[in-house]
């Protein structure tokens, strides 16, 4: 079973998905993230899909659920690194991942998360360098 490790970087939880996930691994990730949010009170979740070559409707919906659960627990979720082939497939499947913020790669994902967390604290005009 390929468990996706959840790593904490300051106030952000990072999950880097590296393999083709079994359904149960994806469900485990959802549980692990929720548990970690409860324990740490982290403000952001970064899901890195840079090396993922296939996202079907099951995983797509699960990602949406993770974002919704995280939101209830006070954290923003950013999904980073969706590959073009995966994005095109998701669109054709009719999935748009509403409620999920996205970034081109993990670096930009971290920047976006900082921005989102800052906005929570300081409002839309809070200082940031973009």
């Amino acid at each position: 079973m390929a468990r996706v490790p959840v790593v904490r970087f300051g106030r952000i939880l990072v999950a880097t998905v590296q393999e083709d996930l079994y359904d149960r691994d994806a469900l485990q990730l959802q549980a692990d993230l929720a548990g970690a949010l409860e324990r740490t009170g982290a403000h952001g979740v970064l899901i890195d899909l840079s090396t993922v070559e296939m996202v079907d409707s099951f995983l797509g919906r699960l990602i949406g659920e993770i974002a919704a659960v995280s939101r209830l627990m006070g954290a923003h979720t950013v999904v980073a690194g969706i590959q073009p082939a995966v994005a095109l497939t998701l669109v054709e499947l009719g999935l748009s991942l509403p409620g999920v913020q996205t970034a081109l790669n993990a670096d930009k994902g971290h920047v976006l998360l900082r921005q989102l967390v800052n906005e929570d604290w300081f409002g839309r005009n809070g200082t940031h360098d973009g």
Binding site: P84, L88, L90, V91, E92, S96, T102, L104, G109
Partner: protein, 169 residues
């Protein structure tokens, strides 16, 4: 069973022909979907003509590749040259917006004429939350704003600083 060719073709010439057709197809695709980087982080994609499913797919593929290559976060999709925006075309545009969004880029639709805007409303099409502007210029203005940039006139005394050979600053 394929029909025999009416003129003798060697396997090599058939291969060459197939390669040429593939090459031309590639060129047509690139001409049809010119993705232009108008500013660091801003891509522009002017559409001309009708958009069918195949063209939409090719356009999305080309656009996403450029988003990855340039790291752009804003795309200005210009539909000035699209004659009719009906339900099918609107769906394709929505798909392009979604595809870009999944890669962290905001796709704005610019070049909406009054006629197109009224058609969309009359058809009851929901472009749910997509940012739209009437022109590329307006889209650029918004893009700059998003990037924290502003275009302002140069200050007056700068205009007088013309060098001896008249070349300006």
């Amino acid at each position: 069973m394929t029909q025999p060719a009416t003129k003798a073709q060697t396997p090599a010439s058939v291969d060459a022909q197939t390669a040429l057709v593939a090459q031309q197809r590639q060129t047509i695709t690139e001409l049809e979907t010119p993705v232009i980087q108008v500013w660091p982080g801003v891509l522009a994609l002017p559409l001309v003509g009708t958009i069918d499913t195949m063209r939409a797919q090719e356009m999305n593929e080309a656009l996403l590749e450029r988003i990855v290559a340039t790291g752009s976060e804003i795309v200005l999709l210009d539909i000035t040259g699209v004659p009719v925006v009906d339900t099918a075309v609107a769906r394709h545009l929505l798909e392009t917006v979604t595809a870009g969004r999944l890669l962290g880029a905001e796709v704005m639709i610019v070049g909406l004429s009054a006629k197109t805007a009224m058609t969309i409303v009359h058809l009851g099409l929901d472009l749910g939350g997509i940012t739209t502007r009437v022109s590329m210029a307006k889209g650029l203005e918004l893009a700059f704003h998003r990037l924290g940039l502003e275009v302002v006139p140069r200050r007056e005394h700068d205009a007088r600083a013309i060098t001896a050979d008249g070349s300006g600053i």
